[in-house]
């Protein structure tokens, strides 16, 4: 993992179906600047590694907001270990 990548974690609330998360993962993965998306489908937590030069955390949050579910920002890390 390059030092430049940042990681942010978001949780979507009120998801009733575990598989729904994977649809949202797809649209996240298509976003420019997003390198990898890991989803804990059980808790609908999205771990996003992205390049801050290409996309901002706010943009990611906005993208998730468009899903219609409530978005909760869990944390963001400056660099990845």
């Amino acid at each position: 993992m390059s030092e430049k990548l940042k990681r942010a974690a978001f949780q979507l609330l009120d998801i009733d179906c575990a598989t729904c998360g994977s649809f949202i993962k797809e649209s996240l993965a298509r976003q420019r600047g997003v390198k990898t998306v890991n989803v804990n489908v059980l808790l609908s937590i999205f771990y996003i590694d992205y390049s801050p030069d290409e996309v901002s955390e706010d943009e990611l949050e906005k993208l998730l907001n468009r899903s219609g579910y409530k978005v909760l920002k869990l944390y963001s890390l400056k660099s990845n270990p």
Binding site: L13, N38, N40, L43, L72, K73, P81
Partner: protein, 704 residues
Amino acid sequence: MPRDPVCGMQVDAEKGLTAFVGGKTYYFCSEECRRTFLAPEAELRRMKRRITVALSGVVILAIMRTAAFLALAAGATLLTWAPVPQLPFFTWGWWLFIITTPVQFIGGWTFYVGSYHALKRKNINMDVLITVGTLTAYIYSSFILIFPGVLPVKEHDVYFEVSAVIIAFVLLGKYMEDIIKKRSAVAVRKLLDLAPTTARVIRNGVETEIPAEDVEVEEIVIVRPGEKVPTDGIVVEGRSSVDESMITGESIPVEKDSGDTVIGATINKVGLFKFRATQVGANTTLRQIATMVEEAQASSAPIQRIVDKVAYYFVPGVVGSAILAFIVWNLLGNFTLGLLSFIAVLIVACPCAIGIATPAALMVGVGKGAENGILIRNGEVLERAQKLTTVVFDKTGTLTKGQPNVTDIVPVEASPALVRDEVLRLAAVAEIGSEHPLGEAIMREAKKQGLNVLEPLEFKTIPGKGVKVLWDGKEILAGNRRLLREAEIPIDRYEESILSLEEQGKTAMLVAVDKKMVGIIAVADTLKDTTAAAIQRLKLMNVGVMMLTGDNERTARSIAKQVGIENVIAGVLPEGKIEVIKKLQGEGKVVAMVGDGINDAPALAQADIGIAIGSGTDVAKETGGIILVKDDVRDVAIAIDLSKATMTKIRQNLFLSLVYNSALIPIAAMGLLNPIYAAAAMSMSSVSVVSNSALLRRFKPKTT
């Protein structure tokens, strides 16, 4: 000072906002942070509200049904007496409509959101099935009500309660699932809750208390008894014992002295000590472990790919059979049964239970591992671990303590002028720059004897053989037979003394000066206390055990014999370890390699599973698929046990969700399953998958 768990700010306990969650009080800097933190709790509350709407609707419906039944039983007199005819608009059907509507739209709201997302991607998921199933019942019933007489059915044949009960059941199942899930997912949050809040550092010569995350690398930190170690570092002053159970799972406190590493979030028990910070922020062990656990929990096991494929065909198959059931029953002239079968089939098949079968067990299994100081990198590793046939151990530092000591110093008679101390001194000069454990042992011994050891002019390490230095105009060689033979130094004369040392399990280091052998230094490494038990346990599990070492055959065999290992491959150069593993894999064996994650990295990477042991603090740098935080070989068996237990759970879950649900589809299609029971069955399938996974929390490591 307490810390805001959301933004990480220091909060004044007196003035700050608080929230009491899960038996613990949290402090917040602002209402915003408090709200963010409470969102999951709020989610549960919203869920409860939806369930209340749905359940109260269902209860009212049930009371009405009972009342109507009793009324019928009481006879027509009661009916004619009742004021129902006076309110022509509020007939039976309308009452049902009024009660069901909020259930359908408030209770079932997120099903629509989920369906929208799925359909937008031309996909069908559980939400779609529930939406279609319940809306069919709801719209059909409303149609009969609003346009009476259009369809050849009476108003009494409406199915509002089918829809309401399905929604209530699914929500109730979902709620139970959430509660169990929350309980299973504590691992990471529990870890991060451990993070210390403040640190005492020396700044400008004054002891100052600062927030833990503001500690800088190289800064000197003071830890008092009873305090948490604020970050990772190396002790520079003082001594104490530290409780590391939260990180390593080891319950006995560990003694710390100057030069020892301490881990952030561990608790200082008795003494005061100072340490130099080496890792801060996202690089601390605690943060690395949390990140790794999160990643592993979000990863998918290879078995999931098969599941995904099944799920891919499963849902369209379900919709197909539902439509087929509807058509067949209609052809047979039973429209009502066709409709009910259609709904029942849609509802009973729950792709959701299939979808969570793997991740639910994985989440609990990985979390349980972390609790015991066993970090599993991802689902793939976990799945492979159960198939292991052979475990290969590196000897030094893995089976042994890796801290060898000098046991014998033998000057050889060819150089009578050299006494014991001189041999040791020459060897120490040669090994001064060496990082090899044997070299370090010699350096320690030289220091202990108070010898004056000078830096050599030139230093060269010859991997797997020894060292060669230039000092005081002399060329000193220190290493094994191979090193001296290559330098064409005759050693055959000393073979007997070398052999006898080796047979005692000691490693003989030969020292030569200017092409002449001057002495032998024997170094022995002691076994870890737990090694024999660990090997025993693996053998009981029918896993083949093998020892791999750069040491010579005799030393290796002698050590192996003490712990009960029969298969020994000795005299292997670092790069040769990969070849040994490749060869085993060629024989069709599934091989795990246990070693330290830095020196043995290539071999660990080649093995089907690399198990990195006990190098402690820099978890992220490890190559291993499994990382044992604690320096205990017994954890190898525990890791395999845990993998097996988790995979068993995954298989049980898949069985529960798949077989049990598909068995009910034909029954539902035949019209033998009331949609209401179908809803109960489907929500129970998800609940049973999640609670079955939660049972994995009871996993107890077996050490004997």
